[in-house]
């Protein structure tokens, strides 16, 4: 299949959802990733590609639409979630948007991502915005409770109004090579999600090798994942470019074989506008412009938005901006 840069954005509605496929262990076997080579490629993405001036502003505005604005802390409260949702409604100060001529671009984040207990709060706070609420389910961040409880949690989150479910895989299944077991679980999760879109968090920092990351990515996609996602943000190593390359290349291979486009979500540690641009360049280079749209690419982040807003203000005024002057996330 030929990768063609999409010149103009089509509406996401045309997207065909992953129906799921049979587990193909031969294919899983053939997934290899050479760590050194991926690291070298990762190191040059940011040096081979850069955007300046109005291109940078446009890309940063786009980046905002790709953010899953997230709060996943043990001390979250309804008040904290409501503040996050208020920021989601108005992610960039109106005066900045106006100065950039971007007031009509409908800039809003891809989703708001919270723990199950705050789904209802968020849904309520976002009413009328069309911003979906994503819930982390299945005993986030470790996934180590009985399967039926995890399935029940998904069902509860969907019932509470979550339109997207971020599930976690059991990392031990990957380390033991229990691909069949992993496949069955993800399939069960997908069934529980129903209409809600499922993002599978691999916990890549705990999968030891990039080949394991590739194999786990494939198994999740075969089992019906709509997105594959790197991390919970709670592992020692979160999203990075080399891991992203491994996953994104599996998405490409999956697309070549099945015609189905799977989304990608790096999460954890992406907090600067520059990082975001590098990730976007990676998506554009490896998968094409289609993966610069929220139905196929998300950042899991919170502080990222403030840094982007600062850069946009700089773009708009020519003066360097300070974080304290942006409404906090």
């Amino acid at each position: 299949m030929k990768l063609q840069a999409v010149k103009d954005m089509e509406p996401a509605g045309a997207h065909e959802r992953n129906p799921g496929f049979e587990l193909d262990l031969d294919w899983v076997d053939r997934c290899v990733m050479n760590r050194s080579a991926l690291e070298r490629r990762a190191a040059t993405i940011g040096t081979r590609r850069t955007v300046k001036k109005q291109w940078q502003a446009a890309w940063l505005l786009k980046a905002i639409t790709l953010i899953d604005l997230t709060t996943l802390n043990s001390d979250d409260t309804p008040g904290r979630v409501q503040r996050l949702c208020a920021k989601a409604r108005q992610p960039v100060r109106g005066d900045i948007l106006e100065a950039l001529g971007a007031q009509n671009l409908s800039i809003k984040p891809g989703a708001v991502c919270v723990y199950h207990n705050f789904v209802e709060t968020a849904v309520e706070a976002l009413e009328g915005t069309n911003i979906p609420v994503a819930a982390v389910s299945t005993a986030f961040p470790h996934g180590l409770i009985p399967l039926e409880l995890r399935v029940a949690q998904i069902e509860a989150s969907v019932k509470a109004g979550a339109k997207e479910i971020d599930i976690v895989i059991e990392r031990g299944q990957v380390l033991r090579g229990d691909w069949q077991g992993l496949y069955e679980q993800i399939k069960a999760f997908r069934a529980a999600c129903g209409e809600a879109h499922m993002k599978t968090i691999l916990g890549t920092g705990e999968l030891a090798t990039l080949s394991n990351v590739a194999k786990a990515s494939l198994v999740c996609m075969l089992a019906g994942a709509d997105f594959i996602k790197t991390s919970t943000g709670k592992e020692k190593v979160n999203a990075n470019l080399q891991t992203s390359l491994a996953m994104v290349r599996m998405i490409r291979w999956f697309r070549d074989e099945t015609g189905i486009e799977i989304g990608y979500k790096p999460a954890g540690g992406i907090s600067s506008a520059k990082d975001a641009l590098t990730y976007m360049a990676l998506m554009k280079e490896e998968l094409g412009n289609n993966w610069l749209r929220p139905h196929l690419f998300r950042f899991g982040a919170s502080s990222l938005l403030t840094d982007i807003e600062r850069q946009l203000e700089h773009q708009a005024t020519g003066r360097y901006a300070a974080a304290y002057r942006q409404p906090m996330v």
């Binding site: 050479n34 040096t47 850069t50 109005q54 446009a58 971007a102 390359l245």
Partner: protein, 789 residues
């Protein structure tokens, strides 16, 4: 372009690096440059224009160096030599360190200037050329300081003449200058006429660093300036990087002069992808292999060899990747492919592509848009080709990849080696057993496993076969700027009484003739003629076969068939050398008698010669498993292993003095290191070596490892030196013979070693039992092996 439009198209915009500082620098020099000689710039002379290939605008006027300019520069370098050499290593190290620091401080100016002058993407000059050049000076500061400790018995050549190409102007200059200075040489360097600017900026750096006047001299100009430098009598060593064609001209021009020579020439390097490789990474590697610097890289991975089982998918993926490469303004920070060096080069490539088209090759061009002006070309892939096609055999030196498939790993090796070149190779496989099986079997100076175009100052770089000889980088590279100190004390070989006129006679009647030894068999010469061997008094001692071209042909064929000797274990080779020694010792008195009868040596002297031969064989049996490689420290997570490999078939023409010992002195290191040999023994006293094949026969030496052809040394040597199946030639004999051998060697650019009429002391154990011949019997292959779970 409005933000909302970009928001929809998500294109990259322009991201140009400012060229202001480079233009300021050029303006500061009035855009007109002379040479840098004896620490100062000369007045501009006859000039030519240096242009920016991306915009076709003139950047500056450069002076075309004349013979007189070269002469002045060489004179300055000569005057500076002794004081420079006399400095302590630490003093020289401080200068090299200062140069490194000063380039670092000006790195942005260097990068922009390089891109303006050469057309390469600013990302490459900024992230590759300049940092690697800086690293080279840092690295060699260390060698300067440790010179005497690490390279005992060696001394600098004196004045080095260095000629560099246009593809990596500053980097190639650093590769030449840093080791030359570290070793205590002074130099005259000629940059390529297309790209002189960074060399001139570098000259300023030298002055700023306080480098003594005359140590570094830069003479700009075109081919004729280079020729004047090569031919200059005051130059002691020539180091050249460039085309194989010019390399051969230089080899010819320096033949017989005794000038040191290192050549880093062309390539058509294989890029091998096995079915178990990380395919996407291998494709990304290809971007670095053939589209780095517009493919104008001597070690470019320009010949893709892909496992037939994955070929279709790989080529599809490759084409997709090519469509994403961005071609355009080299100063743009988001450009993958910049401008070719000059319309001449573009024309040359187009001509080659036209030949390819005529020969039925298919051509795919990446989807990039080209700028309206400037010297640009799309990334190009050629398929439906085989080794018989021109595009596969010729170095294109542009962004053109040719792709072929192979069935299994043995065929991959065969295809990889099916070239006159031998500079580099790349292997992609996740199977360490496979990759490490293939790497030693490819005839190339650098092998990259699961990576490509990795270069570092600590690792030797240089070629096999017609890709040249000598290494740049690391200890291997330092050796190229040092010569053995003992050689300067060598006296001319004393004239020996004229040989009695040779009486050739037909031997078919009664055969009393010592045969030749080819392919493990005693064979009669092709001509059927014999030549008589005389004692000093003039009495006939017997006859040897009169070897001719066909005997040489047969001997080389046998030697090539025996190249498997090189992959036998060093332990086994040692055992066989010990066995040779044992068997020679057993017949010691017989050999001593033979020496006496041929040369008139005294009894003790003849006995001593045989004893030394036994000792020499022992010495190299001992070396066989000890003269080995190194693991270099490279600035990445990788093993870079320097492997010592045999050269292949070595032809040896032995001198008349010490008729047994001189032959053994060369034969023993050659075979200890795994070469096979065609040996022409002393013309006057050949019988010791024809006797010696009986020792060979009884010592388990595999057939073809040692071949002995007797006869007229000059004509046999000429045939050997011209033979493309001979990889190196050692000639002990007259200066005239040496010149002939060196001239005749250009067919396949075989490595030569000649005595040029100097009397080597074959009995000198310090030299002869040491590494002197081991270095000449081997070449270093550097294998890069990155790792990471």
């Amino acid at each position: 372009m409005q933000i909302k439009e970009i928001f929809s198209s998500m294109d990259y915009g322009p991201a140009p690096e400012s060229a202001d500082m480079a233009h300021d620098w050029l303006d500061g020099h009035g855009r007109k440059f002379g040479h840098f000689i004896d620490g100062a710039f000369t007045k501009p002379g006859k000039i030519f224009a240096s242009t920016n290939p991306a915009t076709e605008e003139k950047l500056a006027d450069i002076t075309n160096g004349t013979k007189a300019d070269v002469d002045r520069a060489v004179k300055a370098a000569r005057e500076a030599f002794e004081p420079w050499k006399a400095l302590s290593g630490f003093e020289r190290a401080k200068y090299l360190y200062a140069i490194a620091r000063l380039i670092q401080k000006e790195s942005r100016l260097f990068a922009v200037l390089e891109t303006l002058d050469n057309g390469k993407p600013i990302r490459e000059s900024r992230d590759a050329d300049i940092p690697l050049a800086i690293r080279h000076f840092y690295h060699h500061a260390g060698w300067a300081q440790h010179l005497e400790r690490e390279f005992p018995g060696r001394e600098p050549y004196g004045v080095c003449g260095q000629i560099i190409p246009w593809n990596f102007p500053l980097l190639m200059m650093s590769w030449k200058i840093a080791p030359a200075l570290a070793a205590g040489n002074t130099l005259v360097l000629k940059p390529a006429e297309f790209t002189s600017l960074t060399a001139l900026l570098f000259a300023e750096i030298c002055a700023k660093a306080g480098l003594p006047e005359g140590v570094v001299n830069i003479v700009t100009g075109a081919g004729e300036t280079g020729a004047a430098l090569v031919e200059h009598k005051g130059v002691d060593k020539i180091a050249f990087t460039g085309s194989t064609e010019v390399g051969k001209i230089i080899r010819k021009a320096t033949a017989g002069t005794g000038k040191g020579l290192s050549l880093e020439l062309g390539g058509k390097s294989p890029y091998i992808v096995f079915e178990d490789a990380d395919m996407d990474s291998a494709i990304e590697g290809l971007v670095d292999a053939i589209w780095f610097n517009q493919g104008q890289v001597c070690c470019a991975g320009s010949r893709l060899l892909v496992h037939e089982s994955i070929e279709k998918r790989f080529i599809e993926k490759l084409k997709t990747r090519m469509d994403n490469l961005r071609v355009g303004d080299p100063l743009d920070k988001a450009i993958d492919i910049g401008a070719l060096i000059d319309p001449v080069q573009l024309g040359r490539i187009s001509d080659l592509l036209a030949i390819g088209e005529k020969e039925g090759c298919s051509r795919y061009e990446g989807g990039a848009n080209l700028p309206n002006q400037g010297c640009f070309m799309k990334p190009t892939l050629i398929t439906d080709v085989s080794p018989a096609h021109t595009l596969v055999s010729e170095e294109i030196f542009g962004p053109v990849l040719v792709a072929m498939s192979f069935r299994d790993h043995n065929e991959a090796v065969e295809l990889a080696n099916n070239t006159k070149y031998g500079l580099a190779a790349t292997i992609w496989s996740e199977n360490i057993n496979l990759a490490l099986d293939i790497a030693p079997r490819i005839k190339a100076g650098v092998v990259w496993i699961n990576c490509t175009n990795q270069l570092d100052a600590a690792v030797g770089f240089g070629g096999y076969k017609e890709s040249g000889f000598g290494r740049e980088g690391g200890a291997e590279g330092m050796v190229a700027y040092l010569k053995p100190a003992f050689e300067k004390a060598l006296k001319p070989t004393p004239a020996s009484p004229a040989a009695k006129s040779v009486d050739l006679r037909d031997t078919h009647a009664v055969d009393r003739t010592a045969k030749m030894y080819i392919g493990g068999k005693q064979t009669r010469g092709d001509s059927g003629y014999a030549r008589e061997v005389f004692a000093p008094g003039g009495n006939s001692l017997g006859e040897v076969s009169e070897g001719n071209r066909k005997d040489i042909r047969n001997a080389v064929e046998a030697a090539r068939k025996a190249l498997g000797w090189g992959s036998k274990t060093a332990h086994l080779r040692a055992q066989i050398l010990y066995f040779l020694a044992e068997n020679l010792d057993y017949r010691g008195s017989e050999f001593a008698d033979r020496i006496r009868s041929m040369t008139g040596a005294t009894g003790p002297a003849a006995k001593r010669e045989v004893e030394l031969c036994v000792e020499r064989l022992f010495a190299f049996a001992g070396w066989a498993d000890k003269y080995d490689g190194a693991v270099h420290n490279v600035p990445m997570r990788a093993i870079a292993t320097a492997m010592v490999e045999p050269i292949g078939v070595i032809a040896i023409a032995a001198p008349d003095e010490s008729p047994l010992l001189a032959s053994i002195a060369m034969l023993a290191p050659a075979i200890a290191m795994g070469n096979s040999v065609v040996l022409v023994p002393s013309e006057k006293h050949p019988l010791s070596m024809t006797d010696f094949y009986q020792v060979i026969e009884t010592s388990d030496v595999p057939a073809g490892v040692v071949n002995i052809v007797t006869g007229d040394r000059f004509s046999l040597s000429k045939t050997l030196a011209e033979h493309d199946g001979v990889d190196a030639m050692w000639f002990a004999g007259s200066a005239k013979g040496a010149e002939m051998v060196e001239k005749a060697s250009i067919g396949n650019l075989k490595q030569t070693w000649t005595t040029r009429g100097r009397a080597f002391d074959w009995a000198d154990k310090d030299i002869m039992e040491g590494k002197y011949f081991l270095e000449r019997a081997t070449q270093v292959k550097n294998i890069w092996i990155p790792y990471g779970a």
